[in-house]
């Protein structure tokens, strides 16, 4: 039996026959995969056919915590949604902050497995060891904040909620799942998978405590990690002061901020949408997710203009970029408004903004007939950008319904999928690989499609002095290392942002103290590599090949026209082969039997 960190129980919910039962958490899997992303993916490998239609009842959704959830480990309240993603059919895990994770633990469960499909809209009320299936017909169609409020009023005001918005209900492939009202598991279309099951959401409340295996060792690990973070200029300076949007000016100064659908990579008006401007014009206060000393979350309001009086959470860096620079928009209030709309409808802000940008380019180039757009789509038109987001949230017309499927399908519809800035059909975030080479390898190889939070090489290439952002050497190694590290920490329930200050050894110390498992730095990274390879195996079975590990042609062939990275293209091949070799994979990107045996997962191939 496990000594601490875990509650030791899984809740399995079948929506088809509306039954729920408890199962023990497997200690062997907990040791091999920690929890969260790793454990959840292991369940999917066991129970879901990788070739299944993501929106079919046979797909399952795992809502998972890690052993650090509910403790005072810094920034430890993360929750992970694991499923076969609706956006691209790859293995999907999408992470959120808020307070749901710790509350799920207090209800007695490390994770929930959701299977089947309810005949009518329902929500789950998990309260102190009981599970109710409640009619959600009155909530269907309601926005996220309203749904959160109503579910808590109907259950318990101290309950924490997970809900989908209208976007998830209408199966938008870029819809997310929202926790605690406005924290998003945004990426990979997890919202559509939940929506396809007629599940509006989950309210959870519990009264149990969370224990740790080694009281003194854990407290010491919390003390040392907290003190490292308190002394770190990013974690305790830039992030709390300006939020993640502190990056706008930093990345723009490298000439690697994708502008107007990545036709350019330097945005002269960048400061208008920066974290500094956000602080001056919109910030009300900081918000911290559970047990987070960083508190990078923004509580914001719009004080003037068309959207005066609107308020909510965010935006993050990626969101100010996608609605701002990527659409050529420098009106910060419009950017903040677009972010609020995404949170309310339950849309992924990165994919939503990049999809608007793709539509704008299709329109400007004449590939999208003028009659298809309800209003002119011009880069830099702030109002058009906001109305596009509203249209894809509401899905009232063909235009909104098309945009809600993401940029790849929009591009494909008009015969130009190459104008979709995606890898594996998922929109890439706010770093242009032509100016920061390593992040392109991360976009191309990320198991869930283009993504920055699977191996955040920006930390090594831009934020910390070390690697030259424009060279290729060493990037495969740092990408592999960070991917493995992130897979492990995503499984522990701690936030990626702690790695601005913490090393693998620090994180391992926290997990070891909480669980009592003999996890050191080396073992922590091995677990991460095991998870990464397992995800890869899922994708191979789902039909992905090495051909999918690529980037949009624009990034590979069109030089950046101006700015500090002028003339650069991304030569992905200079890193990809080395990356496969370091991973112990063949040139076809298939993991070798030897590597899988080393990692103890040969039977999963």
């Amino acid at each position: 039996m496990m000594d601490g960190g875990y509650q030791g129980k899984i809740l399995r919910v079948n929506l088809t026959d509306q039954t729920a039962r408890e199962e023990p958490l497997r200690e062997d899997w907990a040791r091999e995969f920690i929890g969260g992303r790793g454990y959840g993916t292991r369940i999917l490998m066991e129970e879901v056919d990788p070739r299944v239609d993501p929106l079919a009842p046979e797909n399952k959704v795992v809502i998972a915590t890690g052993p650090l959830d509910g403790t005072t480990a810094p920034s430890s309240g993360r929750v992970m949604v694991i499923t076969k993603g609706a956006l691209n059919g790859a293995i999907a895990s999408s992470n959120a902050g808020g307070y749901f994770g710790p509350m799920l633990k207090r209800a007695g469960y490390d994770l929930i497995i959701i299977e089947g499909k309810s005949p009518a809209p329902v929500y789950l009320w998990i309260n102190k060891g009981t599970v109710e299936f409640r009619d959600a017909s009155h909530l269907w169609g309601k926005l996220v904040p309203e749904s959160d409020q109503l579910m808590r009023e109907e259950t318990h005001l101290q309950a924490e909620t997970m809900v989908i918005g209208p976007a998830g209900e209408k199966l938008s492939r870029i819809s997310g799942v929202m926790f605690s009202g406005h924290r998003a598991s945004g990426r990979t279309g997890v919202g559509a998978v939940v929506g396809s099951k007629n599940l509006k959401g989950i309210a959870v409340r519990g009264t149990l405590g969370v224990t740790v295996a080694d009281h003194d060792a854990f407290l010491e690990a919390v003390r040392s990690t907290s003190s490292i973070l308190a002394g770190n200029p990013v974690a305790s300076g830039g992030l709390p002061t300006y939020g993640s949007a502190v990056l706008v000016n930093i990345i723009n100064s490298t000439g690697s901020l994708p502008v107007r659908n990545a036709q350019e990579a330097f945005f002269p008006e960048a400061n208008n949408i920066s974290g500094e401007s956000l602080r001056d014009h919109n910030l009300v206060r900081n918000e911290g997710c559970a047990d987070c000393p960083l508190a990078c979350g923004r509580v914001t309001e719009i004080r003037e203009g068309t959207y005066k009086g609107e308020h909510g959470g965010g935006p993050e860096y990626e969101s100010v970029w996608s609605f701002g620079a990527m659409c050529g928009v420098s009106d910060l209030d419009a950017v903040v408004m677009a972010n609020f709309l995404c949170d309310r409808f339950g849309l992924d802000t990165i994919s939503a903004g990049s999809t608007v940008a793709c539509a704008m380019e299709l329109y400007e180039r004449g590939y999208m007939p003028k009659d298809d757009a309800p209003f002119p789509l011009r880069f830099g038109d702030a109002e058009a950008m906001v109305e596009c987001v509203r249209a894809m949230g509401e899905q009232k017309d063909d235009f909104g319904r098309l945009l809600a499927q993401g940029s790849y399908r929009v591009g494909e519809h008009y015969g130009h999928p190459e104008l979709s800035m995606t890898a594996k059909k998922q929109e890439f975030p706010a770093y242009d690989p032509r100016g920061i080479k390593g992040i392109g390898l991360e976009y191309a190889t990320s198991n869930r499609g283009a993504c920055h939070v699977r191996g955040y090489s920006i930390a090594a290439e831009v934020l910390a002095p070390g690697l030259d952002r424009l060279v290729y050497e060493g990037k495969a190694q740092v990408t592999k290392f960070l991917q493995d590290l992130t897979a492990a920490l995503d499984s522990a329930g701690i936030c990626l942002f702690t790695t601005f200050g913490l090393q693998a050894a620090d994180l391992a110390q926290l997990v070891a103290g909480a669980t009592g498992f003999p996890i050191d730095e080396k073992e922590f990274l091995t677990i991460g590599e095991r998870i990464w390879n397992m995800e890869k195996l899922f994708n191979l079975k789902a039909g992905f090949t090495a051909k999918d590990d690529t980037l949009p042609p624009r990034i590979l062939h069109d030089p950046i026209p101006a700015g500090p990275s002028k003339g650069e293209v991304e030569e992905l091949d200079k890193m990809l082969g080395e990356y496969y070799t370091l991973r112990g994979w063949g040139t076809d990107s298939v993991p070798t039997k030897a590597r899988l045996t080393d990692l103890g997962i040969a039977e999963l191939a």
Partner: protein, 197 residues
Amino acid sequence: MAYSSSYGVKPIGHKGKLLYLPHLERESNQGGGGMRVLVLEPAKCTGCRACMDACSFEKTGVFNPLDARINVTTFHEDLTFVPSVCTQCEIPYCAQVCPTGTLVKNAETGRVDFLREKCIGCKQCVLACPWGSIKLNHLGKEIIKCDHCNGDPACVKVCSPKALTYVEVEDMVASKQAGVAGAYRKIAEEMSRGVNP
């Protein structure tokens, strides 16, 4: 701390300066005698609830916010966060309604002590407390209240935005006065220029 410098000197009775004095004499001569209070500033609170987790762990060895002596209320509609904790009242209603003398105002520390062995579990103190700061534990049986961790509060150590501070009571007053005076100075300057605020 910041407000000490606004005095230019450390206040009398600060941190062991007068330790040689007998306790009772110090009480009578120096008033508060180093009494400390938990100061809560909702405007600085980020709602992370680390204080609640740290409190429960300190008291029970388990992370459970229901066993925390301190509480943070989140208002979802406008994302405001309000911490609350026992104010160690000078005239404690909880002590007044207690039929067994379980809750006692401690003149030395300024705290309201909870003498567990005397408690019969009648819960009158829970109802009497105007702040909801006398609580029942997660089992709904045992009375729990803040004791400042006997002078070293665990909650304060994890509060990175410094919404919780543990300060000597006279310093809290001085700090408050300095803040108000600073605001008033601007008004006074404007008035001296003939501007009516």
